[in-house]
Symmetry: C2
Subunit: 462 residues, 2 copies
């Protein structure tokens, strides 16, 4: 199929304005802002941005685009990392940030229905008095719709799962404008194909997600965070593996190498030792947390971990985890004006030490400024290459490094992306990762979006 050429003409603009009134822009700065995300990928502005306020409006907009073969690109907060929102062939960007109502919180069922533009922090702020929280926490304050679309996760996934496990149902506008509900609010169902999970991670390529039913979790009675330094990476990683295998229900277990600790110290005003470091968080009953802590302290001690620093007070914990969430920005600050290229492989945990150590060696041999950090309880880690986007040689070196890292992870039965998604930045790895299964993905894309208007040029080529 040929790449679409958008036909965003005055006729279409008038028709869009008839739906959204003045919530429409073709101003250059607005278009530019909507064509780029937080990554190094080249931006591609759309032809027009419309701010939808209801699912019905989204449906009407998509119908207009379908009738004219014009691409549709959904936009949440623009915090993706693989060029997900780039309008590669122009088209209509549907900005969902105005759809930020929390429709209902069902305390008894521990779920909530939110519009796609609600951000994770907004939801948790809203839940403050309920004793419930929404655990998924990518670094950015992303929209729930965007987090569903990229199958996001974050630091809590080792205990609470990813978006895959924390979405019960959603409302989706299909490529022809039909509105569907992917599932019902019941906790489990065997009634047909799992459309919910199909749309989680579909990155706007199969439809526009407008409303989501998310699972909530009870705020634990006791929470404790801790920081522990290790003499070297293998010791820190061994502690992670032993913790998971001991069945400790650790809520967070995050690794930062010495380069990343340097960045965090400078950016967030800490003075941790410049050593490979684990950040832990424990959730449970008071006694349960004490038990977990005792087990993990003993394990860390076995591997030379030292200087356990505790953060029990909420403000101390918040400061610690805010620093962790800011780590990407901390990396960028190591080299002012530079851009980051973040890798995102995930491997079975038995291969994690080998994968990280080979990668550290590769970084050193390649001569990159590239901190390592990661959600190591899941086998997922990031290398943030801090590079000068103007220096073609450096960019090429970084891309070659990323490719080696992905191939290393794939050889270990891992994936090129644990949580960032594919966008247009990782498409070329999918053939190596999925083989023949990629053609099955393509068949699904063609079946549900035969005109290839839904965020075209992402995930699969058609």
């Amino acid at each position: 199929m040929m790449a679409k050429v958008a036909h965003v003409n005055d006729d279409l603009l008038d028709a869009l304005a008839a739906i959204v009134g003045d919530r429409l822009s073709t101003a250059k700065s607005v278009l530019e802002q909507h064509g780029r995300d937080e990554s190094y990928h080249a931006p591609h502005p759309p032809d027009v941005v419309v701010y939808a306020e209801t699912t019905g409006e989204v449906s009407d907009i998509v119908k207009l685009c379908a009738a004219r073969d014009v691409p549709v690109i959904p936009f949440g907060t623009g915090t993706s990392l693989e060029g997900h929102v780039a309008a590669l062939n122009g088209g209509v960007c549907i900005d969902l940030s105005h759809m930020n109502n929390i429709v209902v919180v069902n305390d008894e069922d521990m779920d909530a229905i939110v519009e796609a533009g609600v951000t994770r922090k907004q939801l948790n702020e809203h839940l403050r008095e309920t004793g419930l929280f929404f655990p998924i926490d990518p670094g950015a304050d992303a929209s729930i719709g965007g987090m569903v679309a990229t199958r996001a996760s974050g630091t809590n996934a080792v205990r609470y799962g990813t978006m895959r496990e924390n979405v019960l149902a959603m409302t989706v506008v299909m490529a022809d404008g039909r509105i569907i509900q992917t599932s019902r609010r019941a906790r489990k169902s065997s009634a047909g194909y799992d459309l919910t999970r199909l749309f989680v991670g579909s990155e706007g390529t199969l439809g526009v997600i407008t409303e989501i039913t998310v699972r909530l979790h009870g705020i634990p009675e006791a929470i404790s965070s801790a920081v522990c330094s290790f003499p070297d990476l293998p010791s820190a990683i061994s502690t992670v593996i032993q913790t998971i295998q001991a069945g400790v229900p650790v809520a967070r277990i995050e690794l930062m190498d010495e380069v990343q600790m340097d960045a965090i110290n400078k950016f967030s005003g800490f003075d941790y030792p410049m050593l490979p470091t684990l950040f832990f968080e424990f959730h449970g009953s008071k006694n349960g947390v004490v038990e977990q802590v005792e087990t993990v302290e003993a394990l860390a001690g076995d591997f030379g971990g030292s200087g356990f620093q505790w953060a029990v007070k909420q403000e101390d914990r918040n400061r610690l985890w805010q620093a962790r969430h800011d780590s990407y920005y901390a990396c960028l600050a190591l080299r002012p004006g530079a851009k980051g290229m973040a890798t995102d492989v995930c491997v079975p945990i038995s291969r994690l030490a080998e994968c990280i150590l080979e990668t550290r060696k590769d970084i050193d041999e390649t001569g990159l400024l590239a901190p390592i950090l990661g959600h190591v309880g899941d086998g997922n880690f990031h290398v943030v290459m801090i590079m000068d986007l103007e220096d073609e040689d450096e960019v090429a070196k970084c891309k070659a490094f990323n490719e080696r890292l992905v191939m290393r992870a794939l050889a270990m039965d891992g994936t090129c992306s644990g949580e960032h998604g594919v966008g247009y930045g990782k498409m070329d790895f999918l053939a190596s990762e999925h083989g023949e299964a990629l053609s099955v993905m393509r068949a699904i894309k063609i079946a549900l979006d035969p005109q290839n208007i839904m965020n075209p040029g992402k995930i699969v080529r058609v």
Copy 2:
């Protein structure tokens, strides 16, 4: 699309024999055994049964069938409950029970790769020395392949999830014989559409699942089971809701009404009070289990629960849960020669009490012999109507009752099937449950199986 008429002729039989040798049968008794499951649904024998031993053989068999437009029906243990294995249009039944190798257990990663014919008990027996277990436990000793295909769950789902959460990847033979791997062994991934979850619950209609990577869990340090009777259903159900909302990580919480308790007492030789009863199981550290037990005993006491009977020794626990797993057979034994029609609705837990009480009233008004039991921690419960299959009036009455129950659950944002699946028994409910989304399921079916040869007549009509 017209229903297929199978062309299983001598030419096809010869070609199949060239693949599987004498692992092929057209004996009437074998065909009959493979056309029926454990439900009341009318059996439909296939034209031939082949016993495959490798994924390659399955691929070759499917290619033969595709070339001739002949239906393919995968068969595990035949313990499904909605006519899933019925060869509605004849065709080739691929019996996977010979594919019962446990390929590898990865202790460190807490996963295992098994062939589709491995049963859940076989896997747990194999894991005995590892400290790990596979938690999903439908009543029958089903094959893992069949459990994936129906998105099975069971008594442990409230703590450990369903097959949806416990499958990491699988090998699938597609409708044209291509072999794909749906995902890799990494714990999480954002690299493309979630084919794994698409095939979980697809009931053989999109491809034949031949190998599965399942998640394993650590056997907890302490396990305690208990039985508690309540004065009435609302008291028992309120205890369940409060337990979940209190965040007790209960491993099992199962409700049986007084009729079900009578059946279990008679079938398994217990003498529990004939009252609404909860079976509990608690997993955790020694102290953690004590904490859970104290919380739940206090909650049960608040609602008039009495006579907590403990089963701590493994043999006592096994006897208790075997009785629970035998409950379907215990129901059937209440009326020798009768068949069971098992309902399977699941609703948000806030609606559970209302749903069960209205249903109990309906049973009484309709005059059915129909115990209620269920995985109430998930909002899922079963009514087993014990009926005379020869009595058309009685069967019609049971079907009408089931339809009322499903509509009641749908009106409460529930599903017609929590864990049994659709087969051909529940297809007619899917339009009410899914509305426009059913057409999306149909589009996927047509895209992946354009000839409609994969277990045709199940889940969606094409």
